[in-house]
C-alpha cells in the first residue's frame, strides 16, 4: 500500500508542476501582459516602463523558475492589479468558493443518491424514468442558462431569494443548486447502477432468504456497498466544483476564487493567475489522490495492479 501511495504521490506532484508550467507558457501566448496592465490609453513608453518594472523583459523560463522558487517557499508575490499579497487574496476568497462547493455537492448528493436508490429499486418504473429525465436535463442544460432561469423566477418574479452577494445563507441557495445540478446526473446514475448490481448479488438474496426486512437490506447491506464508488466520484467532483465555479460565481456576483480567476485572466494579473492554477490543481490532485487511496484501501486488487 505504501509503495502504491508513494507512486501516486509522485505522479500527483509531477502533474501539478506540469500544469503550472503549461499555464505560465499559455499566458504569454495571449499577448504581452504589460499592454494589459498599462491599460488602453497607455503610450509605448508607459508599456516599456511597466514591462521593466514587473520583470517581463526577462526570458520566460527565468521568470517561471523565479516564480516557482518563491512559490515553493509560500511566497506567491504581489498582485499587479489588487496591489496586495497573492496568498492573502487567494486565502481571503477561497473559503467562499469552498462553501459554495460544499453546498453544491451536498445538494447534488441529497438529490442524486435517493433518486438513484429509488430508480434501482423500481427499474423501468415511473420513478426510474423521472430520474433518467433529471439526469438527461442536468447534463444537457448549460449551467449559465439554468442559473439565469433560477434568478428570473426566484429573484425577480417571486422575490424569494437575493440575486447577488454572500451576506446570508440564502445567497448560496440558487448558486448551489445551479452548480450542484450539473453533478447530479453522474452521481445518480452511478448510484443506480451500483445498487442494481448489489441488489442482484448473492448476499442480498441470502439476506432476503433469511427474512431480513427490506429497509435494513437496502440501507445497511446494499447501499453501504453500492455507495463506495460514489464517494470517490463525489470527492473528484468537489475538486471540479472549486475550479469550475467561475460561471456561477460570475453570474451571482460571488466574490470567490472562480471570479478572481476570471478577473485575473482579463487583466493579465500573472501572479494571481499562476497561484490560482496551482492552488486549484493541488486541490484537484489531492482529492483525486484521496479518491485513489480510498479505492485502493477498499479494493486491494487496485494496489496490485
Amino acid at each position: 500500500m505504501l509503495q502504491y501511495m508513494l507512486k501516486r504521490l509522485g505522479i500527483a506532484i509531477l502533474v501539478a508542476l506540469t500544469v503550472s508550467l503549461i499555464t505560465f507558457s499559455m499566458i504569454y501566448l495571449s499577448g504581452d501582459p504589460a499592454i494589459a496592465l498599462a491599460g488602453e490609453a497607455a503610450t509605448e513608453e508607459d508599456i516599456a516602463n511597466i514591462r521593466t518594472f514587473y520583470g517581463y523583459d526577462r526570458p520566460i523560463l527565468v521568470q517561471y523558475l523565479d516564480w516557482l522558487f518563491r512559490a515553493l517557499q509560500g511566497d506567491f508575490g504581489q498582485s499587479h492589479y489588487l496591489k496586495s499579497s497573492v496568498g492573502g487574496v487567494i486565502f481571503e476568497r477561497l473559503p467562499t468558493t469552498m462553501l459554495l462547493g460544499a453546498c453544491a455537492i451536498t445538494f447534488a448528493l441529497l438529490l442524486s443518491i435517493p433518486l438513484g436508490v429509488l430508480a434501482a429499486i423500481r427499474p423501468n418504473s415511473l420513478i426510474d424514468r423521472f430520474a433518467l429525465t433529471v439526469a438527461v436535463v442536468g447534463q444537457a442544460m448549460p449551467s449559465f442558462w439554468f442559473a439565469l432561469t433560477l434568478m428570473l423566477w426566484f429573484g425577480i418574479t417571486w422575490r424569494l431569494l437575493p440575486i447577488t452577494g454572500t451576506s446570508s445563507w440564502l445567497n448560496f441557495v440558487m448558486p448551489s443548486i445551479a452548480l450542484g445540478y450539473y453533478v447530479t446526473p453522474g452521481v445518480m446514475r452511478l448510484t443506480r447502477a451500483g445498487m442494481l448490481e448489489v441488489l442482484g448479488s448473492d448476499y442480498i438474496r441470502t439476506a432476503r432468504a433469511k427474512g431480513l426486512r427490506p429497509m435494513p437490506i437496502l440501507f445497511k447491506h446494499a447501499l453501504r456497498n453500492a455507495i463506495l464508488p460514489v464517494v470517490s466520484l463525489a470527492a473528484v467532483q468537489f475538486g471540479f466544483m472549486l475550479g469550475g465555479s467561475i460561471v456561477i460565481e460570475t453570474i451571482f456576483a460571488i466574490n470567490g476564487l472562480g471570479f478572481l480567476a476570471w478577473e485575473s485572466i482579463q487583466r493579465a494579473d500573472l501572479p494571481v493567475m499562476q497561484a490560482i492554477v496551482l492552488v486549484l490543481s493541488v486541490f484537484y490532485i489531492a482529492l483525486t489522490f484521496f479518491s485513489d487511496m480510498l479505492n485502493a484501501f477498499l479494493d486491494p486488487r487496485i494496489r496490485v495492479r
Binding site: 508607459d46 487574496v89 437575493p162 451571482f252 466574490n255 493579465a268
Partner: protein
Amino acid sequence: MAGAVATAIGLAISPAQAGKSNDTLAWATDREVAVVDPYYNNTRELVVMGQLGWDGLLYRDLKTGEFKPLLATKWEWDGNKRLVAELRKGVKFHDGSDFDAEDVVYTINHVSNKDNGVLTYKNVSWMKNAEKLGSHKVAINLHKPFPAALAYLSNVVFIMPSGHYDSAPTKADGKKDFAAVKAVGTGPYQFVEVKAGEYVQWKKNGNYFKGSPKGEPQIGNIRFRTIKEMNTQIAELLTGGLDWIWDVPKDQAERLKDGGKVTVENAKTMRVSYMAFDVHGKSGQEFFKNKKVREAVAHAVNRGSITKNLVGPASVVIPSACHPDQFGCAQDVPKWSYDPEKAKALLKEAGYPNGFEFDIYAYRQREYTEAVIGDLAKVGIKAKLNFMQYRALRDLVWKGKTPVNHMTWGSNSIPDVSAITSHFFSGGRDDPAKDPEVIKALAEGDTATDPKVREAAYKKALTKISGELYWLPMFTYAKYYAWGSDLDFKTTPDEIPRFYTAKWK
C-alpha cells in the same frame, strides 16, 4: 416555521444597500476595483470615482467647453511653458487638513516623477514640476509648450494632500506601494471603504466647499459594486439592488425601455471606432498599399447603418480621425459615402474585379466588425475575422501584422485632438502611415499656443489622414444607460457620469 422562513428571507433581501430609502446610489460595472487612487488605477471606474473624491485645479463646463475655477481661482500663462495659478482659500481635505499651495506642488512633483510609477504617465508627463509662489499661489512648469494642459488639468490631474504618498508601505522588492495609501481628496464625496471584487463605498462630503462648479452633493452615499454579468446587473436594477448601470446591450436596453420600470437613455461617449489599414504592406497582405482598394473599402462599409442598427441613436458617423467634440477635430475633410457600386468599380480599377480575401482583426463589439465583414462581402471582398483580446491585438498591430484592424480609442475623455490623432499619427508604433507631412502638422498643433494655429495645423493633418485613408474613421460610440425611476440623473457626453449631480426625485 413559516414565519421563521419569512423572517430569514426578509433579513437576506433587505440589506440591499441601494435606493432612495437607504439614501444610497448603487451603481455597478463588470470590473473589480481594488485600488482607489486615480493615478494608480487607470480603469474607467476610477476616472468616474476620481471626479467624486477629488478635485482638479480647473473644471470644464461640458455644455460650453469653458474652463471654470475649481481649486484654482485664476490662472494665466507666463510664456508658453509656465502656468501660474492662484488657489482657492478655505477648502479642506476629507481628513480635515487645509488645502494650499504645498498640496499642489507635492502632487504635481510626485506624479510627474517617472520613478513614482503613475500608470498612465502620459496624463502627467507634460508637467516638469511645480513650485510654490505663495501660500495659495503656484507655478506649473512644462517640458515644452502643451496647449492641451487645461484639458488635462481639469480631467485627470487631481490634487492630493501634501505628504499623502509618504506613508506608502514598502513592498518586498523595496519599492513603495503608493496604491496602498488610503484615498483622501477634497471632492464632493469622501472615500469610506473598499472590498476588492465587491464594492467601493463613498459618503457625502458635508464640508464640500461652497461655490464649487460641481455643485453641492445631494445623495448621502454612493456605492460602486462589481457585478460581472449584465443579466445580473439588470436583475438587480429591476429588483432595487442597483440604481444605475451602463453598457447595456442595445436589444436589452430596448426591452428595458419597453418595460417602463426604469429610465433608459443612449448617450454619446468620447470613444471612436476606426479601421486602420496596413498602408505599407508590412503584414504580408499588400492589398491596402493600393489607395483604390482602401477607397473601395470606405465606399463598401455602411457606417450609417451600423450606428443606427447596432450602436444607438447617439452614435454618429465620423469623417475625421478624432471625436467631433474634441478641440481641433476638423469636420471639413474628405468624406467617403456608402456606395457599393463605386466600391466594385474601384476594385476593378485596382485589379481585383472578383474581390480578394484578407484578415481583419478586432477586439471589441464583435457584432460591429461582423457588420463590416457583411458589407465587404457584398462587393466581393472576403474578410476573415480574427477576434482577440486587446493586449494580444495591440501587440500584433505594433508588429505590423494586421492588414486591417478595427479598433477603438476613448482618448481618456480628453476633449482635445492631441489625445487621439497625435497619439496615432506622430510616427510611433501605432502610426500605420508614418507620413512626414502629417507628423509635422501634428507637432505644430501640439505645441502652438494660438488656438487658430492649432486648428489649422490639425486640419491639415486630418485632411491628409482622411484623404489618403490611412484610417477609415467609423463612428462615435454611444452607451446605453439605465437607472431607477427614483433617480434624477443626467448623462454626460464624455463617458464620465457625474454622480455628484444626481439626486432623488
